[in-house]
């Protein structure tokens, strides 16, 4: 057993400060264990969210030594314990208290994304037929646990605060999951370009780097979506072809 110091941000909407807590650490501990231990023994009112403790529920997102992390999956053995470990709330969202932030903006964004609209069933019994490789492609995006660490690290949200113009990486891969779904028939390209602001993403790949599920957010999700937007809106031949089709129809 040895002791480590945790600098935990304590405060609320009106402001706050880092406070030091020394606590015993043992082999195999993760940051969330230390936070829970401090909560149980020294600061009963220390606010933090957590649930599954296995990296699946996405509740315990925070910034550990400045890096967006799930506290339950960040082992103390990965951190230099000779220095205090800083633990603070995600910066892209308003603080409610201590490590708890108001992430409700995300839920409002999700509501605005066009829902899944499958084509009519392929078989009389109401079922569909899909190719495994088509499933594999969207399955990656379905791994998302909605921890919002990608939103936290995205500079368009974190630094430029463009919540009204940009939906952020989490929801771009949600759109990707729907758009690339082999059964889906809805068209989300126009919103992607306008209301959802995909153009603001300049592919710094920070989101991919912090994703605890290892989803290739930028390469497999956002870039293919950007290509679809380009095909639909900026390809002169495509534009001309659609214009002709429209004329012929009219």
């Amino acid at each position: 057993m040895s002791t480590a110091v945790f600098k935990i941000w304590r405060g609320d909407r009106s402001g706050g400060e880092f406070r030091d807590y020394a606590t015993e650490v043992s082999e195999g501990m993760v940051v969330l264990d230390a936070v829970n231990q401090i909560q149980a023994t020294q600061a009963n009112d220390l606010a933090c969210r957590w649930n599954c403790k296995a990296g699946k529920c996405g509740s315990c997102s925070a910034e550990v030594n400045g890096m967006p992390k799930l506290m339950c999956m960040t082992r103390l053995s990965e951190l230099p314990l000779e220095k205090p470990v800083t633990v603070e709330p995600m910066k892209a969202f308003p603080v409610l208290k201590d490590l708890v932030t108001d992430v409700s903006w995300n839920f409002r964004v999700k509501k605005k994304i066009k829902k899944f609209k499958p084509r009519p069933p392929d078989a009389p019994d109401g079922t569909w037929r899909m190719q495994q490789q088509d499933i594999d492609r969207v399955q990656e995006f379905r791994k998302c646990i909605e921890c919002f660490l990608c939103q936290d690290v995205c500079h368009v949200l974190r630094d430029h605060r463009m919540y009204e113009k940009f939906i952020g990486p989490r929801f771009l891969i949600h759109v990707a999951a729907l758009e690339m779904h082999p059964l889906d028939t809805a068209d989300r390209i126009e919103e992607l370009r306008n209301a959802q602001g995909i153009g603001y993403c300049n592919i710094t790949k920070c989101c991919t780097k912090v994703c605890p599920e290892g989803i290739e957010i930028t390469d497999n999700g956002i870039i293919p979506l950007k290509e679809r937007v380009v095909d639909d809106f900026y390809d002169p031949f495509g534009w001309f072809w659609r214009w002709i089709k429209k004329k012929l129809k009219g």
């Binding site: 195999g28 009963n44 082992r75 201590d98």
Partner: protein, 464 residues
Amino acid sequence: MIRTLQDHGVHQGIDVHMEQTILSLLKDGERVVGAFGYERERGRFKIFRAKAVVLATGGIGRAYKITSNSWEYTGDGHALAYEAGAELLDMEFIQFHPTGMVWPPSVMGILVTEGVRGDGGILTNKKGRRFMFDDIPENYRTQTADNEEEGWRYCQGDKNARRPPELLTRDHVSRCIVREVKEGRGSPHGGVFLDISWIKKKLPNAEEYIKRKLPSMYHQFKQLADIDITREPMEVGPTTHYIMGGVRVDPDTQMSRVAGLFAAGECAAGINGANRLGGNSLSDLLVFGKRAGEFAAKFAKENSLGNVDNAKVDVAAREALAPFEQSRGENPYELQQNLQEIMQDSVGIVRNETEMKSALEHLGKFWQRVKRLGITGNREFNPGWHTALDLKNLLTVSEAITRAALERKESRGAQFREDYPNKDDALGNVNTMVSKAADGSMQVRREPLPEMPDYLKQVIDEMK
């Protein structure tokens, strides 16, 4: 499944009140007409008026020290229903999942899915023996493989093969693990070995296969325990996983004996009997969640909003705020830990009367201590306060579990009593029923099982 439901649900015009805790159900006469609680964010009280209420609060895992459940599994729905006058049925039946992580200490209890064994994982003791072959219960002998080769064929989807003994019922596997550990044949950290890496002897691309079939287990062990499950065995031991008992509801409508109060999923009782089989709680909550919703909606349409008794709300509010008045009171986390230790040690996998009676005495003292809890800080998102309030629910369900377990003087399903190690046919025909008496005390009684309806008998005959 959660995401699919959520993705669908957000487009249905449903109002979701997140991070709210319900403290009591409100009644107008004999009918439930709403709920009283608080929102965690600001700690403000709230009254929800409702024509019908569906409880879907899950289980009670936090009453135990080692559990696969989250901190929120504090038996809230069970306790709310009990306080509102509903009955709790078969609370003694708690499932201890045989494979939880045992090391490192901080992840103790986290679930290792049954899928590991389903895909060929084997349990061995420190001598390398597949001990599950040593103790196959008589009634499962014909359905269980008697050699390793057949067990492996079953895991590969051979319909003619019988299942390996690792996939026997969870209570049995849990007890076998406890036996191995008690008799000194356990793994270094007090569990046994669960090995999936051995299948490389059978499959050329075993590593790929394991990663594809068990991706989350691979990552869980890699990240939390530094163990590569494609190369080395895991260490596992039993963990509190699921309560079969719960709120007694009508099997068709899911309504409890309190009008307007419905329950579904883990907090409702009945469907899983004395022991749940893997996968059944998902089908349970899909089928009976839907039914509960439909019948609650029907009930709501047929009834008007009731009256809320403000005096009762005031009492509940004062009670909830009491811990703030004792800033030098007892730490709620400490009491929670003491409770978890007592339940783990005395009302766990292997039970007996002496230990459970002593647990009841402890619970009596905890009921006194819960009145002396103190809180620091204010009402805004205060986990200390939340823990203090949850403790009452934990104590209610812990007492119900212990009293029901004492009442069932036999071993059946998930309950194993070393003082009554066999089944008792007479007790096999009764449910235990816990309810709140007029004087506020907890009553336990036995009730004969209802007669099976003819259509069910017919289904069972067809299966034979």
